[in-house]
Symmetry: C2
């Protein structure tokens, strides 16, 4: 009840992920998550608004971390270089988190409702990054395009990292995806071609 | 009842948009939309599953048009050039549609539920374009990155077009956004810089 619950959030998060993996997100209740974690349902609701938010409890911290990392890059850096540096910083948050991320991604991909929530999270991240770039004097549409490109790189690099065995760090996948985006976007430099 | 209703879909769509603009999406019912269009509620539900889908009735056609336009580009074209050509084709669907698009965008931006639905539409578009590129032999992650970049360009160019007075065609905004993406992504070509 009122007693101190060591790492209640983390225990609830892992219990939820295990149950969602075993029996599916729709089939799991908050009471079952609390029980699996050895906590009360009341404790569950002290930490999370509902069973969906257990999977997105880190979303606002992730957004804050993204914005802080981007804001900390030199203002003289080209926007895409600032984004590259931001992704390097963000990748460090996922060290030792491969198994957790893999499990979470599988749960999310299995539910339309969770996939939608994940899209909202990424759109919110892109909007926050674009706003941060504008505050640094980057004009539109460059600010929004850089932010969208950065989030696309994050999404695709993350999915590829999660799809492998975890031996290579997330930072490598993000770097590869960004390099690939540069190659892709650079293939027609200097002219529009089919005018 | 069973009688022929000339352009019922279009009339319902315009009536819905007018009502959503006047009194808000949440405050409008399917019955009110049907009445405004001079049709029965039964006719409404023959055409649309619910009042949200009136705004997304064109989403699957748009996706088909995107995929068909991309598939029709020469396989020898670089993916980003194929995407540029696809955006040119898609822009023609929005000729004479500026006022409609402006009104629709304002309604969508005013509702969290509709913004989410719009995100799902764009994510589905990106996935369909990535699949089309893979069928043409484009490898991952280039296929997904090109598709995400194309949709980011579409989204941002579209928003900018809608935000202006309609004198300049959507195609121009899409071209500008794509060019800007190339500039943005190209600023650090040939090396990663901060290694």
């Amino acid at each position: 009840m009122g007693r101190w619950e060591p790492n209640a959030r983390g225990r609830l998060e892992q219990a939820a992920l295990d149950l969602y993996s075993e029996r599916g997100f729709e089939q799991t209740t908050a009471a079952q998550i609390a029980q699996r974690a050895g906590l009360t349902e009341r404790t569950f609701f002290r930490h999370y608004a509902d069973k969906r938010e257990v999977l997105f409890g880190g979303a606002s911290q992730l957004e804050e971390a993204f914005v802080a990392a981007l804001a900390a890059t030199p203002v003289t850096a080209a926007p895409i270089d600032a984004m590259a540096s931001t992704l390097e910083t963000i990748a460090t948050f996922f060290l030792e988190r491969h198994e957790f991320a893999r499990q979470r991604q599988a749960v999310i991909m299995a539910s339309a409702e969770l996939r939608e929530r994940e899209l909202i999270k990424l759109a919110s991240l892109a909007a926050a990054l674009a706003a941060t770039l504008r505050r640094r004097g980057v004009q539109e549409p460059a600010a929004s395009l850089t932010a969208e490109a950065g989030i696309a790189v994050f999404k695709i690099g993350f999915e590829r990292w999660v799809g492998e065995n975890g031996e290579r760090a997330l930072a490598e996948f993000l770097r590869e995806s960004l390099d690939e985006l540069k190659v892709v976007a650079g293939s027609d430099r200097g002219g529009r071609g089919r005018s």
